[in-house]
C-alpha cells in the first residue's frame, strides 16, 4: 500500500491543530469517574493484606458491621460462590504455563502486601475506609520470596500447589548452532547483566469504578477508569457470569494509564458482583498509596545479554536470558510483557544469529504487567548499553559502532533473525541528524577539555538508537503467540443529513487526542472542517466493537480503519453523485466537498446535497440503500517499526555524585505525522518517564515484602524542574503497512531514553573506570562507584 494522505495545500493533517479535548480537560468540565454523580450509591473499601505471604486463618467482620454507615462486609470466603471464573490472564504464553487461581478477594492465602482480603460497603466513603480497620484477620505467616534468582531456585514457593515458582520458559532461538558458532569464533564477546527495576506507573488519576444496576431488566452500566472498555466488558461477563448483552461499559475521561489500566482488576469484578448481590450502585476510587500497591507494576527483570562481534565490532550474535518478575499472580497480560521485547534484543542492528529465553517467576510482590513500552524499553536498554560497552572495548566511538551495525536501508523490508519483518527504516540519516543537532564533535571536545583541565564536573554524552514493534497487531501473529484476542480495530463513519460527520472508533483514548487526530484524517479526505467531524468512543453501547488503546496501536490500526471507512462511505456517496450527475462514477472527481465530472467543473454536486439525498432516499440509484454509513474492521498485515536516535548530555558532580541532565536531543521517525504537536507531546511524556526510570524511580521493598515508598514523597516521580527543554527533530520514513503511512509513537520516548541517560552517565564516569551504573542512577550510587574506584587505586 502507498500513503494516501496527499493532495491539496489546505490539508489539515501535518498541521499542529490544537487538541479539541483540551478545553474541557483544562477547565474541569471533563468528567472523570469521581465526577460522575450517582444517587443511592454504596462506597466500597478494601482491606488489604499487610503480609506478603500468609495463610488466612479467620476473618472476623462483626465489629466492622457495627460501624456507622456500614451496609455490608464480605470476606473472600463469603463471596466464593459469586464468580464463575477466576481473574483472567489472556496471554498463556506457553501450553504448559502455570497460572494459579486468582480471585478478586483472597480466601485462603495472601500473596503480596496489598492483596485484598475483605470488602466493606458503606453509605459514604470515609465510613467504608474506617470500617476496614475494624475487620480482624488472623494470619499465619508463610516464608516470603522476593528476589528473582531466589524465586527461580524454588527455595521458597509462592504457590506450593504449582510445585515451582517458574510460570513459564519461553524461547525464540531460530538456529542455536549458528549462535554457538558465532560465540565460539567471535573476536569480542561482551557479557552484561542489567537490572530493570520495578516501576510504579503512577497515573495522575488513580483507578476507579462505578457500577449502576438498572432497576428493571437486570442491566448493568459499568463506568471504569480503564483503557480497555471493550475487553473489560467481555471479561466481566466471563468472570461474573452476567450476559454480555446485559453489560454496558463506559470509560469516561481517564486521567492517564500508561498500561496500568490495560487490565482487569479485582475491584472492577467486585463492584459488579456486589451491585448484583445488593441491587445497589457501587463505587470505588483508589487511594494514592493503594494505587502504588494494588495497581500493577512495570518492568521487574534481570537481564543477561551476551553479544559476539568480529574484530571491527560488527555484531555476529546476540544471546539473552531474562528472569521476569510476575509478582504474586498473573494479571491480564503479565506473561506476555517480556515477550514483546523478546524479538528486539538485537535492536536496529543487522545481526544474523539470535537467541532469547525468558523465564517468568512468581514472587510475593504486586503483580507486574504492561507499563509504557512493555518489554521494548528493557530490550532497548540491554542492547544499547551493551553496544556502548563493545565500542569502549574495541576503542570505537559509540556513534561509529552503531553506523557499522545498522540494518542498511536497502534491506527493508528486513527479515530479522528472530523472525519479524521490519516494515521500513532508514537509520543512518536519523543518527546523523541527531548528532548534528546536539553538536557531537563540539561536546566531545568540551568533554576532553574538562578532563584535561581536571574539572570536577564531568560531562557525559549518551546515545540510544532504538527500533520498536508496535501497532498491535496482526491477529494471526497474536494468535501464533498464544494471545487470546485479535489485533484488529473497528471504525464507522456516518455522513449525517446535514453533512456533519460522525465517527465511531473502537479505540479508547485516555489522553492521546484521538478525537482531534481522527477528525483531521476524515477532514482531509472529505474536504470539510475538522470541527464538523465528531468522534465517539469508549462506550460499548455506542461503539460495540473495538480492541481499545495500548501498544501504540491506535493511529496505525484504528486511525487507518477510520481512513478506510471514510473511503468506503465516500464510495457510496460517489454512486449517488454519479446518479445525480448522470455520469459514470469513474468519471467523477472529488475535491473540497464536491463531486464534479472530470473536465467539467460546472457539472458538480456538493457532498451536503448527496448527504441529504441519502437521508431522504427520494432519488437513489437502483440497489443503493439510504444513508451514508460505512464500517471497516481492519486487521493490519504487520506491526509498525518506529525508530530514532536519542542523545542525552549529563554533567556529574564528582563531589556529590549528582547527575544533571543538561540537554536531551531526540530525533524520532514515526512515519507520517497526522498532528506533529501531538506527536511531540507523546515524545515529551515518554522521554520524561524514561529519564525517570534512569535516574529517579524504583519500587523499593524491605525483606518482608513491604513496599517502602508508596507515596509521592518517597517514590520519586520527577517534576518539570528536573528536566531541560527537550530538543526534538524527526525524520519521516512512512510505513508501507497501513494506508496512512504512520507508525506508533506512544511508547517511543520511554523506550529510547533510559539507555541514552545511563550511557551518558557511564560516559561521564569513564575517568573513574566505571563500566555500569544500575538504574535508578542515584547520586549515592554514583558517589559509591567513584569511591570504590578511588579505593582500588
Amino acid at each position: 500500500m502507498t500513503a494516501l494522505i496527499t493532495g491539496s495545500s489546505e490539508r489539515v493533517t501535518g498541521t499542529r491543530l490544537l487538541r479539541r479535548e483540551d478545553p474541557k480537560l483544562l477547565t474541569g468540565e471533563a468528567k472523570f469517574i469521581d465526577d460522575i454523580t450517582q444517587q443511592d450509591v454504596l462506597y466500597m473499601a478494601l482491606l488489604r493484606s499487610p503480609m506478603a505471604h500468609a495463610r488466612i486463618d479467620s476473618v472476623d467482620t462483626s465489629a466492622a458491621m457495627k460501624m456507622p454507615g456500614v451496609v455490608a462486609v464480605f470476606s473472600g470466603a463469603d463471596l466464593k460462590g459469586d464468580w464463575v471464573a477466576p481473574m483472567p490472564c489472556a496471554w498463556p504464553v506457553t501450553a504448559d504455563m502455570k497460572n494459579p487461581p486468582h480471585y478478586p478477594l483472597a480466601a485462603d492465602v495472601v500473596n503480596y502486601v496489598g492483596d485484598a482480603v475483605a470488602v466493606v460497603l458503606a453509605s459514604d466513603k470515609l465510613s467504608a475506609i474506617d470500617a476496614t480497620e475494624r475487620i480482624v484477620v488472623k494470619y499465619e505467616s508463610l516464608p516470603v520470596v522476593l528476589d528473582l534468582q531466589d524465586a527461580a531456585s524454588d527455595r521458597v514457593l509462592v504457590h506450593p500447589d504449582l510445585g515451582t515458582n517458574t510460570s513459564f520458559v519461553w524461547e525464540v532461538t531460530p538456529d542455536k548452532a549458528k549462535v554457538d558458532h558465532a560465540f565460539a569464533t567471535a573476536v569480542h564477546v561482551v557479557k552484561s547483566r542489567y537490572i530493570q527495576q520495578r516501576l510504579i506507573p503512577s497515573a495522575m488519576e488513580p483507578r476507579g469504578v462505578l457500577v449502576v444496576p438498572q432497576p428493571y431488566g437486570g442491566d448493568y452500566t459499568v463506568f471504569s477508569s480503564t483503557q480497555i472498555p471493550h475487553i473489560l466488558k467481555v471479561m466481566l461477563s466471563l468472570t461474573v457470569g452476567i450476559s454480555e448483552t446485559k453489560l454496558r461499559v463506559i470509560a469516561p475521561s481517564v486521567g492517564g494509564a500508561f498500561g496500568s489500566k490495560l487490565n482487569i482488576y479485582s475491584e472492577e469484578v467486585l463492584a459488579l458482583t456486589l451491585a448484583r448481590k445488593l441491587h445497589r450502585p457501587i463505587r470505588w476510587t483508589e487511594e494514592r498509596s493503594e494505587n502504588a500497591q494494588a495497581t500493577i507494576h512495570g518492568r521487574g527483570q534481570l537481564q543477561d545479554i551476551d553479544i559476539a562481534a568480529d574484530e571491527n565490532g560488527k555484531i555476529l550474535a546476540v544471546r539473552v536470558n531474562v528472569l521476569a518478575d510476575m509478582g504474586g499472580y498473573l494479571q491480564l497480560l503479565t506473561p506476555g510483557v517480556p515477550l514483546l521485547g523478546g524479538f528486539l534484543y538485537h535492536g536496529l542492528y543487522d545481526v544474523p544469529a539470535y537467541s532469547f529465553t525468558c523465564t517468568g517467576v512468581f514472587t510475593n510482590k504486586t503483580p507486574t504487567d504492561a507499563y509504557r513500552g512493555a518489554g521494548r524499553p528493557e530490550a532497548t536498554f540491554a542492547i544499547e548499553r551493551s553496544i556502548d560497552r563493545l565500542a569502549r572495548k574495541i576503542g570505537v566511538d559509540p556513534a561509529e559502532i552503531r553506523r557499522r551495525n545498522f540494518i542498511p536501508a536497502e534491506k527493508f523490508p528486513y527479515a530479522s533473525a528472530p523472525g519479524l519483518v521490519f516494515d521500513s527504516g532508514n537509520y543512518l540519516p536519523n543518527l546523523e541528524k541527531a548528532l548534528e543537532m546536539v553538536g557531537y564533535p563540539e561536546i566531545r571536545s568540551e568533554q576532553m577539555k574538562r578532563r584535561s583541565g581536571g574539572s570536577k564536573k564531568h560531562l557525559g554524552v549518551g546515545l540510544s538508537c532504538y527500533v520498536e514493534m508496535c501497532g498491535l497487531a496482526p491477529s494471526k501473529v497474536l494468535g501464533s503467540l498464544r494471545y487470546a484476542a485479535g489485533g484488529w480495530e473497528s471504525a464507522t463513519v456516518r455522513i449525517l443529513p446535514t453533512s456533519k460527520v460522525q465517527v465511531v472508533t473502537g479505540t479508547a483514548p485516555h489522553g492521546q487526542g484521538h478525537e482531534t487526530s481522527w477528525s483531521m484524517i476524515v477532514s482531509d479526505r472529505l474536504g470539510i472542517a475538522p470541527d464538523d467531524v465528531e468522534v465517539l468512543h469508549s462506550d460499548t453501547s455506542i461503539a460495540p466493537y473495538g480492541l481499545d488503546t495500548y501498544g501504540s496501536r491506535s493511529l496505525s490500526v484504528g486511525g487507518s480503519a477510520v481512513f478506510m471507512a471514510t473511503e468506503k462511505v465516500l464510495g457510496k456517496a460517489r454512486q449517488i453523485a454519479a446518479h445525480k450527475l448522470e455520469a459514470s462514477a469513474d468519471d467523477l472527481d472529488y475535491k473540497d466537498g464536491s463531486f464534479c465530472v472530470k473536465g467539467s467543473p460546472d457539472k458538480a454536486v456538493a457532498l451536503s446535497t448527496i448527504a441529504f439525498e441519502a437521508f431522504t432516499g427520494h432519488d437513489l440509484p437502483e440497489g443503493v440503500e439510504p444513508n451514508l454509513e460505512a464500517t471497516v474492521t481492519w486487521d493490519p498485515p504487520n506491526f509498525t517499526f518506529p525508530f530514532g536516535t536519542h542523545i542525552a548530555v549529563v554533567e556529574i558532580d564528582e563531589d556529590t555524585g549528582a547527575t544533571e541532565l543538561l540537554r536531551y536531543v531526540a530525533v524520532d521517525d514515526v512515519g507520517n505525522q497526522i498532528n506533529p504537536m501531538i506527536v511531540e507531546g507523546q515524545i515529551h511524556g515518554g522521554i520524561a518517564q524514561g529519564v525517570a526510570q534512569a535516574l529517579f524511580e524504583e519500587a523499593v521493598y524491605d525483606g518482608s515484602g513491604n513496599l517502602l515508598n508508596p507515596t509521592f514523597t518517597d517514590y520519586l516521580v520527577p517534576s518539570a524542574a528536573e528536566y531541560p527543554s527537550f530538543e526534538l527533530g524527526s525524520t519521516v520514513t512512512p510505513s508501507p503497512t497501513n494506508p496512512l503511512g504512520v507508525k506508533g509513537v506512544g511508547e517511543a520516548g520511554c523506550i529510547a531514553s533510559p539507555p541514552a541517560v545511563i550511557n551518558a552517565v557511564v560516559d561521564a564516569l569513564s575517568d573513574f573506570g566505571v563500566e555500569h551504573v544500575d538504574m535508578p542512577a542515584s547520586p549515592e550510587k554514583i558517589w559509591t562507584a567513584i569511591q570504590s574506584f578511588r579505593r582500588s587505586r
Binding site: 487511594e287 563531589d655 556529590t656 549528582a658 547520586p779 549515592e780
Partner: protein, 271 residues
C-alpha cells in the same frame, strides 16, 4: 490517604486558640497544613481536635524592629521569600524560604508552622537556628521568648507546650556573608542534606537532615573559631552526628555530603 475523623474549631483570635488548646485534649494547630495534613492522611498522626488558625491575619506580618525583623508565624513561605525588608536585612531567610517545597507549598505553608513542626529535614528551622533567632510563644500565662538553640528538642518535638502558639520569629539583622546549600534529588523535596551558614563576626552553621532535629555544626564552628581553614573545618562537619539512613541516602553518604556542602557554604559565606 484519608485522615481519621477529628473535631474542628476555627479560632477567632490568638487568645481564643490558646483557650481551645487548653480546653481540648489532643488538639493540634492547623495553619498552612503542609506538615500536619500529610501525616494525618497517612494516619501517622490522628489528633482528636484541629484548631484552625489560618485566618488570624494579625499573625501574618514582616516588620522592622531596629535590630531585628519580626516575622509573624502565619507568614506564608512565598511572602517570606518575596519580602523586600527581609531580602535587605536578613537575605538568607527569603532565599531559604524560596527553596521550600514547590510553589503550591510555598503559597500555603507558613514559617511558624514549619518551625513549630520541628522537622530536622526542613529548611527553615535550620535557617532560624543558624540566625540565632528568638521565637515568641503565647500561652495561657501570656508571652514568653524561646531562643532557637533551646527550641528543637527531638524528633518532631519542640519546646512549645501543648497549649502554646508560636506567634512570631525575631530574626537578627546581619550584614555579613551567608550561604544555603540544599542537596536533593527533586526540586520540591526535603533536603537530603542542607547547610545554612551565616557569617556576622563569627560564623554559625546549621545542618538539615543530619540529626533528628535541625542542629548546629558545633565542631565546624569551633574549628573556625580556632582559626582552622575552610578545608579543615568542613572535614569535621559530621563529627558527633548520627544522621538518618533512608531511601534517599545512607548515613555514610550524608556524612560525606555534609562535608562537601559545609565546604561550599563556607566558601560562599566567607568568600
Amino acid at each position: 490517604m484519608f485522615p481519621a475523623s477529628f473535631d474542628f474549631f476555627k479560632a477567632s483570635s490568638v487568645a481564643d486558640a490558646v483557650s481551645i488548646l487548653s480546653r481540648e485534649d489532643d488538639a493540634k494547630l492547623l495553619a498552612g497544613g503542609h506538615s500536619l495534613l500529610p501525616l494525618m492522611k497517612l494516619r501517622l498522626a490522628s489528633p482528636a481536635v484541629l484548631v484552625d488558625i489560618s485566618a488570624l491575619e494579625e499573625l501574618a506580618f514582616v516588620e522592622d524592629k531596629g535590630d531585628y525583623v519580626a516575622v509573624g508565624a502565619l507568614t506564608r513561605h512565598h511572602d517570606v521569600a518575596n519580602s523586600e525588608l527581609l531580602k535587605s536585612a536578613v537575605p538568607i531567610l527569603p532565599f531559604v524560604a524560596s527553596k521550600v517545597g514547590d510553589p503550591s507549598v510555598r503559597h500555603r505553608g507558613t514559617i511558624g508552622g514549619s518551625i513549630a513542626h520541628g522537622d530536622g529535614a526542613s529548611d527553615l528551622p535550620a535557617a532560624i537556628l543558624a540566625l540565632d533567632s528568638d521565637l515568641v510563644a503565647v500561652g495561657p500565662d501570656g508571652e514568653r521568648v524561646i531562643q532557637a538553640k533551646d527550641f528543637f528538642l527531638g524528633f518532631l518535638e519542640t519546646a512549645l507546650r501543648p497549649n502554646e502558639i508560636l506567634t512570631e520569629i525575631r530574626v537578627p539583622k546581619f550584614s555579613g556573608g551567608w550561604s544555603y546549600q540544599k542537596f536533593n534529588r527533586r526540586a520540591q523535596d526535603w533536603a537530603i542534606v542542607g547547610v545554612a551558614a551565616v557569617h556576622n563576626g563569627s560564623t554559625k552553621i546549621s545542618l538539615v537532615n543530619m540529626a533528628s532535629t535541625p542542629i548546629r555544626a558545633s565542631a565546624v564552628e569551633a574549628a573556625l573559631a580556632d582559626g582552622a581553614s575552610v578545608e579543615v573545618a568542613s572535614g569535621v562537619a559530621s563529627e558527633g552526628l548520627e544522621p538518618p539512613s533512608d531511601l534517599n541516602a545512607s548515613a555514610d553518604y550524608r556524612r560525606h555530603l555534609a562535608q562537601v556542602l559545609v565546604k561550599r557554604a563556607l566558601t560562599e559565606a566567607l568568600g
